[in-house]
Amino acid sequence: MEKLYRNTAPEYKTVDSIEILGDKKYTLSNDIPVHVINGGSQEVLKIEFIFDAGIWYQNSPLVASMANSMLNEGTSKYNAAEIAEKFDFYGAYIGFSAAKHDSSVCLYTLNKYLTETLKITENLIKDSIFPQKEFETILLNKKQRFQIEHQKTNVLAKDEFSSLIYGKNHPYSNIFDESEFDELDINTVKEFYKTHYIPDNCKIIIAGKVDQSVIDKLEKLFGKNAWPKKDNLMDAKHEIQLSEETKSFVCKDDAVQACIRIGRPIFNKTHKDYTTLHLFNLILGGYFGSRLMQNIREDKGYTYGINSIIISHLKGGHFVIVTEVGSDVCKAAIDEIYKEIKRLREELVSDEELNLVKNYISGEMLRNLDSPFALSESLKGNLPFGLDNSYYQNFIQELKTVDAEKIKTLANTYFQEEDLKLVVCGPDNCRSSI
């Protein structure tokens, strides 16, 4: 029997580099770029059609999201029930999402049914007709969901925070009034679909077991088949309006906790200091071992969880700390958050802690980038920035060059107390916390 030393950790290896399954690029005959990530053990495919048809491009609220949702609601060939019937019968799943810049249609299918499921997907992308009855149902149900969501303190706090850092009317805030649901015109939505869901505006990412026959099918249905091009697509312009207010309180009287958001606008992942920012974020609130989690949850027990995140938009971005705490400790929690940020401005992070987060982050990359489906998600996030997944290999190399001094400098450059916006949403007795 080997001798056991239970109070000594076993030896371990650090992750020095990660192997990433790269993507192969094809171009369909109408110039649609196709990125292929071929791998995995199951006979399954994820095919995502991505269009520049996000909130950024709409002229009024809800247009991009409704145009996207309505793709599932009827074509000149099939009605909504028939479309649903077909996907379900083949055990496929079709997902729709409208994001800040892009909107997508994502098909998950078994390889053996690709011919059938891809055909319907083609039909709904190219030939949706937006039936009035379905439009009304979808809109009404979205409105009800919106009303329920806006009962939540974290949603109210998020809206208020976004309006402080981007401005109320900016697409990155995407704030609008309930009444917009009643004013939306189906023709505006239909027009948006016709001008934005076109080949010039499309890219495709395929992940899973991909062979030539998959590419051939795509070419046949999306490269060669009639699909009108439009060439007068205009980019939209939106100015960010940073509010001069630094603090805001949103009252929700029946809340039993207060939701706190503290953060600021910040550069996106193309900036030279992004790796340093990533480490700063991780140390402060980016993982379970973070200072905020250890202090505010694990030492004080004020909350179930506290996190900080970095959001990289194509034309901007922000950093934010989010937590929900007992309303009686709201003030104390805010003070502790500021205290932890101040420590990062004033003290160097120890070698031990820095080493730990660097190891943690390498493990996390290995974990998050291990399957074709996961890699396709990352690729989707990277492509708009002109990057691909080799970005992570550079990131790991760059990580090694970040030291405690750099993190302290970053903290002092960007995270002075006056740079930060504070939003609290909770019962009235939390008003005095800000």
């Binding site: 029997m1 053990s41 599932n72 149900n141 969901r145 329920i148 009962q151 809340a255 291990d370």
Partner: protein
């Protein structure tokens, strides 16, 4: 087909190994056969609170998370009415760290007063955040005691009330640990880029020396057969009325589980499903509606839950649901419809086999239920379900006297 090796240590710990070379990672999943159904009715929420305390340091290792993060690992845990499950993932070369950490907290905890005090607060905040600070968040706190009168499924894993959590003492924590946490009351699954020989060596080394513990036989009260419809009305500050209907069904290991699962699929899996098409799309009675099973080990619940559209009355909404339930209980589904839901099941099984961690959790659950290999034979059981099975199962389920209804009124 998921291949795996299985062996049992002398102390009774069952170990399962599944190799998946497509990932550079390894997952370790440790399932303890202890859930909130094993709690004292005066100390509900204890199993879940205890799960939090398992991260508060063990007998030889003061901090669980840090050494794991140092080797690039990550972890979490969850508690259900039936089990408590701990899982972690590490780069494959650092698998031994996982064995070191998990075996030490199976050996014994640090039992720190500070950890208990903090985690009591954390769990109370979790209680508030998830059950009281969300619209419709407290539904299960009321629906469970309506459906169950004797069986411990009458309380949620979070517990009956904050008060029961507030007063937990350290000696109760110790007692609970030695009563339920033991190699002979757990299942260890290791999956990912791992070799069975190596796992065997590590398991013997780290878990082998932990002594077997006395585990009392589980003796839960049976839930008496329900004989009449039960109803409860609640009024809350939410934007819309909602309805929650719960029907008693069998346990996870019953043959009938598979037909029951398919009944829920015919009703509500996917946008082509019956209640989605009929009640949301055609009749606009609900903004969302769902039929699903709890999947509990002991006799569980079949739920139909929906948020009513603005202006729709409870009478109208409930009648429309009963219409669909009566239909499936009296008229045969078509061949096509049955084939469709079976295709969906097969497909979702294929998709679920992508994740090595997912496979580890499923293997552990099946092993606890009787046999890990069920993960491979289950699909056959779904295939065997017949049109008559769907009819009979539905007829048995959807009776008024088998039903508890919670009417959740929006306060205007």
């Amino acid at each position: 087909m998921i291949e795996f090796d299985k062996f049992t240590l002398e102390n009774g710990l069952r170990v399962i190994v599944h190799r998946d070379e497509t990932t550079p990672m390894a997952a370790v999943n440790l399932l303890y056969n202890i859930g909130s159904k094993d709690e004292d009715p005066e100390r509900t929420g204890f199993a879940h609170l205890f799960e939090h305390l398992m991260f508060g340091g063990s007998v030889n290792i003061p901090n669980y998370d840090e050494p794991l993060q140092l080797v690039g690992g990550d972890n979490n845990a969850w508690t259900s009415n039936d089990v408590t499950n701990y899982y972690l993932t590490v780069p494959k070369d650092n698998l031994e760290t996982a064995f070191w950490l998990e075996s030490d907290r199976m050996l014994s905890l640090a039992f720190s007063e500070k950890s208990l005090e903090v985690q009591r607060n954390v769990v109370i905040e979790e209680f508030k955040q998830r059950y009281f600070n969300q619209p419709y968040g407290d539904v299960w706190l009321h629906l469970r005691p309506l459906a169950y009168k004797k069986h411990p499924y009458q309380w949620s894993t979070i517990g009956k009330s904050i008060e029961q959590i507030e007063t937990v003492q350290l000696d109760e924590v110790k007692e609970f640990f030695f009563k339920h946490y033991a190699p002979n009351n757990a299942i260890l699954v290791v999956s990912g880029n791992v070799e069975t020989e190596n796992v065997k060596r590590l398991a013997e080394k780290w878990f082998g020396p932990i002594e077997r513990r006395e585990i009392a036989e589980r003796n839960l009260p049976d839930e008496p057969v329900q004989t009449e419809l039960r109803t409860l009305h609640l009024e809350r500050k939410v934007p819309f009325d909602a309805i929650y209907m719960a029907f008693h069904m069998g346990k996870r290991t019953d043959d009938e589980f598979y037909s029951t699962d398919l009944v829920s699929d015919v009703l509500s899996n996917g946008q082509s499903s019956r209640i989605f098409q009929k009640l949301i799309k055609e009749r606009n009675l609900f903004s969302s509606i769902d039929a699903y099973l709890t999947g509990d080990f002991e006799p569980g619940l079949f739920l139909v839950t929906g948020k009513l559209s603005e202006g729709v009355s409870f009478e109208e909404a409930e009648a429309a649901i009963w219409e669909e339930l009566n239909k499936i209980a009296t008229e045969k589904v078509t061949d096509y419809e049955l084939k469709k839901v079976k295709n969906k099941i097969e497909s979702s099984l294929v998709f679920s086999e992508i994740s090595y961690l997912n496979k580890a959790m499923n293997l552990a659950t099946h092993e606890l239920l009787g046999d890990a290999n069920e993960i491979n034979t289950e699909v056959e059981k779904y295939r065997k379900v017949s049109i008559d099975d769907i009819l009979n199962t539905s007829a048995k389920l959807f009776r008024k006297e088998n039903c508890s209804i919670l009417y959740y009124h929006a306060k205007k």
